[in-house]
Symmetry: C2
Subunit: 248 residues, 2 copies
């Protein structure tokens, strides 16, 4: 009753693979055999096998790269969004390797949703910076930054593979003070799915932030699309009385 019963074929396959992983026979990053080989090994069809793999994927034990196959998942990165740290340092503090690639950097027309989020008038312009982060060589994060152009003149011409936090400090004398962030489990689509090497509709974690500087001025926002299996968010917080009425 406490331990789980699993009689379906797919569940048995899942457990078998799970044990191979937890026993250490399959190590993080290891590629699993092809779906055809595995389905033959477990005497089943690819569809049934796929179901087992998808359950392990949802749990974060294995992951898939679009059209490349299945791999054993590395441990999750610990991520505290309250730290005003440079991403690079957060990762290296966990003995992991990090790379950043700039996908695009341009000035765009703010969408209605962005205007609202950033408290802008209609038809405003924003700097958009799209970047991709790898940890230990694996793509885990696609980020879209939107900066207020009047606060960050000329930033698009700089080397944007380095930490934005660092550029803010050294070139503009700004540092983050406060943030509001939303965390939403959703699915990857289009550009996001492609960048993260995910199939359309794969579950991901979206962290949407609005950031204020040390003087409480709204300066930028970003949308972080994480592979759902790549992180564990950890937050330490004193609790506050909510703004809505608390009657007994």
């Amino acid at each position: 009753m406490t331990t789980e019963q699993a009689f379906t074929h797919a569940a048995l396959i899942r457990q078998a693979i799970e044990q191979q992983i937890s026993s250490g026979l399959l190590r993080p990053g290891h590629k699993l055999p092809s779906e055809r080989d595995l389905s033959e090994l477990f005497a089943t069809t690819r569809i049934t096998l796929k179901e087992a793999l998808q359950a392990l994927e949802a749990e974060g034990k294995i992951y898939r790269e679009d059209r490349r196959g299945w791999f054993v998942a590395p441990p999750r990165l610990l991520y505290n969004p309250q730290y005003k740290s440079h991403f690079h340092q957060m990762v290296t503090a966990q003995q992991r390797q990090v790379e950043t690639a700039v996908l695009s950097a341009q000035t765009v027309l703010a969408t209605p949703a962005l205007c609202q989020e950033l408290e802008l008038p209609a038809l405003s312009r924003l700097h958009e910076i799209q970047r991709l982060r790898r940890i230990d060589g694996r793509v885990v994060l696609f980020v879209r930054h939107y900066l207020k152009p009047e606060i960050f003149p000329g930033i698009l011409a700089m080397d944007l593979t380095q930490s934005l936090t660092l550029i803010y400090e050294t070139h503009y004398g700004l540092s983050y003070g406060r943030s509001r962030f939303d965390i939403i489990p959703t699915a990857a689509r289009g550009e996001v799915a492609q960048a993260l090497m995910l199939g359309e509709g794969s579950p991901i974690l979206l962290i949407s932030r609005v950031n204020f500087d040390q003087d409480g001025r709204l300066i930028d926002c970003d949308q972080e699309y994480w592979r759902h299996d790549a992180i564990r968010i950890s937050i330490d917080s004193s609790l506050v009385t909510p703004p809505f009425p608390l009657e007994k």
Copy 2:
């Protein structure tokens, strides 16, 4: 290039259903036709149809209850884990209906993981309270609380359908001060899957908290298993300098 191209059969089906929902023809809570009917409607097989439905599910647009069918998803609940509020009030403040059911309340032997989390010696005992929350009639949250028995004598005999926060205050003079919480996208298994009416391996969001009282004493912890499509976590926080070294 900006809008998504979708040529697979499954993607076309997804879009069609998506439009029916966003147009308001299918309202939250509405049950979709049977998979057989839908697959006939779209001139495809159940497997292909299912793929379309699963993508919409991952995105949180529709949801499934095990063996009952597919439904249009209601809007996500806004959830701020920093609020020391009674769950009931947080939900009603958003004009939603809430119900709480107690699944079990007993004293159990603390698992090794729990001993570590709660800084307990080996072979400690804990009060375990398992509850299920519904919003607007829909099961969205399964919670396991673990309380230190010496701090909460006799609590298991009380009416546990009401707010624990309230019981803490009125019967024990305690209120929450600080919390540490981890947020982990993972998959439902066994008891959790059953309670949430999910299939084995469905993606869920686990929020694991450790709570301290107003004097900084560790008093309890809980594991909240949320339907991934039921919430949007919203946190407002001042940013802090991380504990690990920040060299340039």
